[in-house]
Each structure stands twice: as C-alpha cells, then as structure tokens.
C-alpha cells in the first residue's frame, strides 16, 4: 500500500499537506505492523521464558538426582533427598479417576444438548454446565472440605467398602479418613466436566447435517444415528476434548491441595491420602527453606510443565484437525 502511494506523492510536490499525511501514514503503517508483530511474538517468547524459568529453577535438583528424581519415592527434606514418584503417581491416578467419572457424563450432556434438547432448554443447560468452569478452584476446595468430604467419609466410603467382591479389593482398603484420592478425583471430575462437554458439544454440532440425514434415511433410530454416524464422525474432536480435560486435571492445584491429604505415599487404595505434583508444589513452597528442597519443588513443576505441554499439544492438534475437516 505505502509502496504504491509514495511515487504518487513525489510527483505532486505542490500538495504538501496530503504528501505529509500519506508519508505519515506510511510510517504509521510500518509502526503498526511492527507493533502487532511484536505483540504476536510475545506468545512464543512467553512460552520460551516459562520453559527457561522453570528449567533453570529445577536444574539443581535434576543435576543432583538425575533420572532417579522421577522414580524414587523418598521425599526427605531434612536429609535433602527428593524423589517425585508419589506425586507423579497421584497426579496420574487422580486425573484418571476424574476422567472416568467426567467423560461419560460430559458426553451425555453434549449429546443431549446437540441432539435431543428442545431449543428452549439448550441455552440454559449449556450455560449452567459452562458455569461450572467459572467457579474458582479455591471455592471448589472450600466446598470439598466442608461438604463433599464429610459426605464421602460418612456415606460413600462405607458404602463402597461394603460392596460385594470389589468392596474387599485393594481399591477400597483402609480406614475412611476423609482426605483421599477419591475426594480429589471426584472434585477434579466436576471441574473438568465443563471443558470436555463444551468441546464435545462444539464438535458434535459441527458434524454435517447430511451425515445425520443419511443415517436416518437408512432407517436408523435417533440413537443409532448418533452412535453410528455422528459420534464416529466427531471422534477425534471428542478425544481432543477429553485430553484437554486431562490437561486441566493434571495441573489443577488448589482444590486438590485442599482435598487430597498431602502425604508422600503410593497406595492402591482410593481411600488413602496422596499427593499430586501441583498440590506438592503449592503445599510445600511456603515452608521450603533449603535451596535443594525449593529446586526439587521446581523440578516437580518442570515435570508437570512438560507433561501438560505434551497433553495440550496433542489435544489442540486433534481438535484443530476436526475443525479443519468440518470447514473443508
């Protein structure tokens, strides 16, 4: 634009006012382009800085313990021995509990909203479910401590332990204190549900009408249409949504810190307390005095960073692939 305008200006020296203005706009355009590019560059730079910051903070711990940092379960600040295995284990188990509970529910909601719900019901229900995502983590934690945890301890855990066969399994072993992997997983399930259902709803709605009509024309019932024609079409987007939920569950901090019990142990029982990576960092940061202790916490943060980075990249790629297919 400015390249075209400039020769015009130089041939009409008489009209200096316009010349100055167009000259000025060329500078403005350049400044504008550089400025927006710089702002855009902030995003990758920020990500790099985060990686750098977390990496340097974690470096002393990685250097001291090497690969054993990930596999050892000794966490002994007074003796400067740190192993993150229980926290990694707890992070993965609590996230799995959350997904096992939240995924069927979220898919049910998404299918209900995209296929069955009358239009007057669609907006309010979608709004209510989305609202779950707006509740701050610390409020979930507060509710978890004072409402969910007592109910789990007094009602749900005895019920689970009393179940035939599986009630006697290692999953439901030990006394029901309250702070437990089960409680943390349950609160996580509530927290990731809106993310999974929002993404699933979006990709289900993006399935072309023709896909549905073809299934119905072949004589399918409405449910068969959904199960055989709509969901398979949206499958990778739904999986993307679930993995996105996984990313949230892995990194969730406050609510889990308040409910999981914060104990360095690996236990098969869902009634037993544990730790997640995020809750470990949040819980011990304030009392970490030694440099190596602090660095070990940051090392846990680095593991969490890499894990969520990979999980999110996969999820985004899957969702992006679906939306690209829907567009073309």
């Amino acid at each position: 634009m400015s390249e075209v305008a400039r020769p015009l200006v130089t041939t009409r020296q008489d009209d200096t006012g316009i010349a100055a203005r167009i000259e000025g706009s060329a500078i403005g355009d350049t400044v504008y382009r550089w400025l927006t590019t710089a702002f855009a560059l902030c995003v990758p730079v920020l990500l790099l800085l985060i990686a750098l910051g977390v990496g340097t903070a974690a470096w002393p711990a990685f250097k001291a313990f090497g690969f054993g940092f990930l596999t050892s379960s000794d966490w002994d600040p007074p003796h400067n021995v740190f192993g993150a295995a229980p926290a990694i284990y707890g992070t993965i188990i609590s996230a799995i509990i959350a997904l096992v509970i939240a995924t069927p529910l979220a898919l049910g909601v998404a299918i209900f909203l995209s296929e069955f719900a009358p239009s007057w019901l669609r907006q309010p229900v979608a709004f209510l479910v989305d609202l779950l995502a707006a509740i701050p983590s610390v409020v979930y934690g507060l509710w978890g401590i004072f409402v969910l945890q007592p109910v789990l301890r007094d009602r749900v855990m005895p019920l689970l332990a009393g179940l035939p066969v599986i009630g006697k399994s290692a999953l439901f072993e030990g006394p029901a204190y309250g702070p437990s992997m089960l409680g943390a997983g349950l609160i996580l399930a509530i927290m990731v549900l809106p993310f999974i259902s929002a993404v699933s709803r979006e990709v289900l709605m993006a399935v072309p009408r023709s896909q549905r009509e073809a299934a119905l024309a072949l004589g399918a019932t409405k449910w068969e249409m959904i199960a055989d024609a709509v969901v398979p079409y949206a499958r990778s987007g739904i999986i993307g949504g679930i993995i996105l939920g996984l990313g949230r569950a892995l990194g969730e901090t406050m609510a889990v810190t308040m409910l999981i019990g914060n104990v360095h142990q690996i236990s098969a029982s869902l009634f037993a307390p544990g730790y997640t990576m995020a809750s470990l960092i949040a819980n011990e940061f304030a009392e970490a005095t030694g440099d190596l202790h602090l660095s070990a916490l940051m090392g846990v943060g680095a593991v969490l960073f890499v894990l969520t980075l990979i999980v999110n990249a996969i999820a985004r790629w899957l969702v992006w692939r679906v939306s690209r297919e829907a567009r073309s």
């Binding site: 400025l35 590019t37 910051g53 977390v54 069927p104 409020v139 934690g141 449910w223 999110n312 985004r316």
Partner: protein
C-alpha cells in the same frame, strides 16, 4: 410363461420370512434402546448441573449468614478472634485485576490483530497454536515462572509479580477471542475505509477494531473472570497480606488467597469468613461473566444462535 396379475415375484422364502420377523422384533428392541439412551443423556444433563446447584446453594446459605458490613470494611482479625472482614483482600484482588489487565489486554489484543490480519503465515499459525497450548498450561506453572524472574531477583514478594503472572494467563484467551471477533468483521468494511484513503493502521484501529469492540470486551471480561479467582500463581508471587496495602512493590492481599488460608485454618470464625469470601468472589466472577454475555448480546442481538 404368463405372469399372474398380483403376483410380484417369487414368494418369500423361509429365510426371508425369518429375516422380516427378526427385523420386526429387533425394531422393537432398537426403539427401546433409543428411548433408554435418550433417557440416559437426559440424566447425564441433570447430574452434570447438580454440583453447580449444590455448590451455589451451600455458598448462599453458608456465605450469606456470615456477611455483614464489617466484612466489607474491616481487615482480618488475628486468628482465634471473631469478626473482622476481607476489605483489604477485595481491594487487593481489584488491584491485581487492574495490573493483570494492563499487561494482558494490550498484548492479547495486539497479537489478536496480528493473527486476524496475517492469516496463513507461518508465524500466525505458530502463534495461534502456541497460544492454545499456553491457555491449557496449569496456572501454578505461571506462578513458578513469575517467581523465578520477578520475585527471586527482587528478593521479595510483590503485587507486581502477581499481576504479571495473571496478565500472562490472560494473553492467550484475549488473543484468540480478539482474532475471532476481528475475523467476523466484514471485509467490505475494511475495503471501504481503505478506499476512502484511510491508512492501514487507522483502518485497523479506528474502523475494524472499533466494530469488533463489543466482542473483544466480552473476551476481555471472560479472561478477567478467569483470573479473578486464580489462587495458585498468587502463592508464589503476592504471598498475601493481613494488612492494607495498595503498593505494587509490596505483598498484597487477595480474595482467593485469603479464602484458601481461612479454609485450611482450624478456627470456625475463619471458616465462616472463608464462606463469605467465597460468596463474594463467586459474585464478582458471575457478575463479570454475565456482563460478558450481555456485551455480546447487545451487539449481535437476535441474529445469534
């Protein structure tokens, strides 16, 4: 061989009759499955909204009973004493929101403009993807980042570090909504402005951005409502403060942080304050969320879904 009228082909064989019979019975079963599954998805929808109702319900009953005037005007009492409020934490949260917006909004809107105006370039695609990835990073990682680069070098916890951590969290969200809102502005509008002799930057800022403004405001409000309740990054940056402080160079109190500290304390009086604080925090978040919805609705009116 003459064909008798009315006879349309060979008579159905036993196999075909069995198939027809099977179709009839399976159709019945398929219909039952259909109805059952519709019911299951309905139940899922009900169950999914239950936690929200439980949480909000309990929050109203437990929070409302401990909210009084002192809650809004006083600072916390020492542990063990009753009374006191969270006035400093509420103001602190507002300060943090302001600082975060000062960081997150310009960068996010600028990056969004770049993405919308440079579609398909390598940098735009990379930035779009990375901002989505950034959006999914745990907030606690953002806290570690701010701690490493701001708190550690300065040697103390500051409100500024918290504002920057929260602002960094806003960037990806604001970037993506800005891009989306700008890309739905009709190209003809941009072309008209350019044809009238507007320079590019004025077209972008005065015409296009102005048209997309309500949508961008919505995006900004959604981003603010998300960071308003964030706690984890604040543990590493602002630390919290039992007293009044408005300075960006000092530790500052924040509502979510105060709720956390009170929730895990052993005192009933502090638990009550935690509930009241949670009610106020949810109120702030919901008001911002509703304002965000209203901002879009008033602009796009009945045309939307």
């Amino acid at each position: 061989m003459p064909v008798k009228p009315g006879n349309r082909g060979p008579r159905p064989s036993g196999v075909q009759r069995a198939a027809a019979e099977r179709t009839r019975t399976t159709l019945g079963r398929r219909r039952v499955v259909n109805v059952v599954m519709i019911g299951v998805t309905m139940i899922a929808a009900v169950v999914a909204t239950l936690p929200l109702i439980f949480i909000l319900g309990h929050l109203m009953s437990a929070g409302a009973s401990s909210i009084d005037l002192a809650f809004f005007t006083e600072i916390p009492k020492p542990p063990g004493e009753t009374g006191g409020g969270m006035a400093n934490a509420m103001v602190g949260t507002l300060v943090l929101i302001g600082a975060a917006s000062a960081v997150g909004l310009p960068v996010g809107i600028g990056a969004g403009l770049y993405l919308a105006e440079n579609r398909g370039t390598l940098l735009a695609n990379a930035v779009r993807f990375l901002s989505d990835v950034l959006n999914g990073l745990p907030s606690i990682v953002m806290g570690i980042f701010a701690w490493q680069f701001l708190v550690k070098p300065m040697g103390k916890f500051t409100a500024l570090a918290g504002g920057i951590a929260l602002g960094a969290m806003m960037i990806p969200l604001v970037t993506r909504t800005t891009e989306e809102m700008i890309s739905i502005v009709p190209v003809s509008l941009r072309e008209a402005a350019l044809a009238l002799g507007y320079s590019r930057w004025r077209t972008s800022l005065v015409v296009v951005l102005r048209t997309a403004l309500p949508g961008i405001v919505t995006g900004a409000l959604v981003a603010v409502s998300r960071i308003a309740g964030e706690t984890a990054p604040l543990l590493f940056t602002v630390l919290g403060n039992q007293f009044w402080s408005l300075s960006l160079r000092e530790p500052i109190a924040a509502l979510p942080l105060q709720i956390f500290n009170f929730a895990i304390s052993p005192y009933d009086a502090q638990h009550a304050l935690a509930w009241a604080g949670a009610l106020v925090l949810i109120g702030i978040v919901l008001i911002i969320s509703l304002a965000a919805r209203f901002a879009t609705r008033s602009r796009f009116g009945r045309g939307g879904d």
